[in-house]
Symmetry: C2
Subunit: 378 residues, 2 copies
Amino acid sequence: MAKTVGVIGGGQLARMMIPAALELGVGIRVLAETQGMSAALAASAVGDYRDPNTVLEFAKTVDVVTFDHEHVPQPVLRALVEAGVQVHPGPDALQFAQDKLLMRQRLSDLDLPVPDWAAVENPEQLDAFLKDHDGRAVVKTARGGYDGKGVRVVTRVTDVDDWFTTLAEDGNGGSLLVEELVDFHRELAQQVARRPSGDIVAWPVVETVQRDGICAEVVAPAPGSAGRIAELSQDIAVRVAEGLGVTGMLAVELFETRDGRVLVNELAMRPHNSGHWSIDGSTTSQFEQHLRAVLDLPLGATGTLRPWSMMINILGGPEGATMPDRYAAAMGEHPTAKFHSYDKESRPGRKVGHVTVCGDDLDEVAYQARGAAAFFQH
Amino acid sequence: MAKTVGVIGGGQLARMMIPAALELGVGIRVLAETQGMSAALAASAVGDYRDPNTVLEFAKTVDVVTFDHEHVPQPVLRALVEAGVQVHPGPDALQFAQDKLLMRQRLSDLDLPVPDWAAVENPEQLDAFLKDHDGRAVVKTARGGYDGKGVRVVTRVTDVDDWFTTLAEDGNGGSLLVEELVDFHRELAQQVARRPSGDIVAWPVVETVQRDGICAEVVAPAPGSAGRIAELSQDIAVRVAEGLGVTGMLAVELFETRDGRVLVNELAMRPHNSGHWSIDGSTTSQFEQHLRAVLDLPLGATGTLRPWSMMINILGGPEGATMPDRYAAAMGEHPTAKFHSYDKESRPGRKVGHVTVCGDDLDEVAYQARGAAAFFQH
């Protein structure tokens, strides 16, 4: 009998696991937050992922539990494990994706290259860090940030007064994470997948371009990365996956510094925006690989199908048009473009889809991808 | 608003349209014959496709109706069209896929290359045809054949006594189709897609290898086909699509004769087994293209992602093992293989899945594909 993967969360990452599950002929069930979400086709349950009973009942209908996001609380994850449920990634790994201070501490303990950082409990500690770093730094809340939220570049301690106030009100003795503002040449991302039994595979490292804290474009492989940069990136991601006990997909967001170092920025323990190119551009997509990994099946080949792939995110605009509304024009001009719509309500700034083009010549790939994406931009 | 495609029939062809619909973000609903079919995930209705009311009610829930098979009766198709439903391919085209005598007559009228053929109403007429063709011929029932059923190689008129008896009992004045036994070098298949507004695209012609009347292997492109054979095949398929008014996918099964001609064998007006390689091996799969075509959207590029693709069918065996039962072994040995399971009950001889490998070297591709498929064979 084919096994069934249960996905907690009904967003586009769960949605993009469905085609992979259909092709492999493995079952997929989704616990969605609400009706009508992006992954609605496979939603067998609707409920609150913070409620242990809801999640435990859902887990009884599947063979392994995995995630569309990293927000399931630790007590719920621990309850699953105690009930004998297979959970990938497990709570011991996920805590490092849920708390950036824990993550920074663990990576430092593993001697992985990270920006200078400190945990700061009050403005005085932040002020001291700023003085040591030319008066500039990045401050992050330990929990709850994504797509640029919970991250601020600061030059004065008063820039995060509100966050210190919130910490004081919480009364949990929490801290903010402060990091050096890295003088980076560009941002990279390295995807790897790891089975519970230990095998790991890595895709080529990619270059990511962010706008307003949101991933805008990805080029795979990162131009000029063959050799040292690719080896450094892969080595880092493999050490993170092993050191943190990650199972399933791991994305490591990296800075390539102007002086040629590669530093870990953020982690995601699930399929990640920087790996969407793999649906069209790699022998094994990150979504199929995630299913294989959490089912502890042998991992698929991670080579590129064409020398270059470019993925461009489509964000929702003010007028609420969906991608399919504009397919007639976009497809007519760009026959090699692959169009991915997440069937989400269009709201300004929300990721509602992406476009990927693969080919032999990066200039041509970029021209086609940007041209195709422009039909959906605002 | 994204449009919704309605598929009549819940088999693996409908199933393989679901990933394409999810990626494009267009809706898909399936009218399945029974519960638990291969395309069950998108089955919004279960009912008899021969019943006009069932089909009309289903059609009200979608924007365009298309098919997993060619068995919907003409009166039902005509009722849909009269009710204003968009149907692709339409009944005027589908009749040629439903009746091989009509098809042969129409192709002959269009001056397309076909084997010598005749409609025979009785043993005497068959005997005359045999005498003109070295005592050997292929006899086919006009309707209802597939995967080698309804097709016999005959040397004596008594070889099809039972079919003549059935014809006589029907009393409809029907005929059998008799064709010359073509001395072919190999079998080919040419896929094209055509929009209602007329645009046509063609994939590279492929070689198909049949065993016991069932497609066993497909190599894309057909080795040594570049040039004359590819042009002949494509020209034939385009003329068939236009001449018969096909909308959506058309597969033309061809004979390449020992004396270098290309003759039309059979037609299918839907995604076809000989095009499954395109899921992994072409920029646009036949399933995505079928959706684009029936929605009258611009068609996607049909180039290959790698120089060679080989697809091998997996047939059910006596012990009822499913493909996923053997993934651990097969995936471990063949990381570049793409595994497709149709989630159908395994019965001897039934198509339950396929394996595709794409790569630069045909020998290596064939080695990997046959090796991977062997894990599921009996």
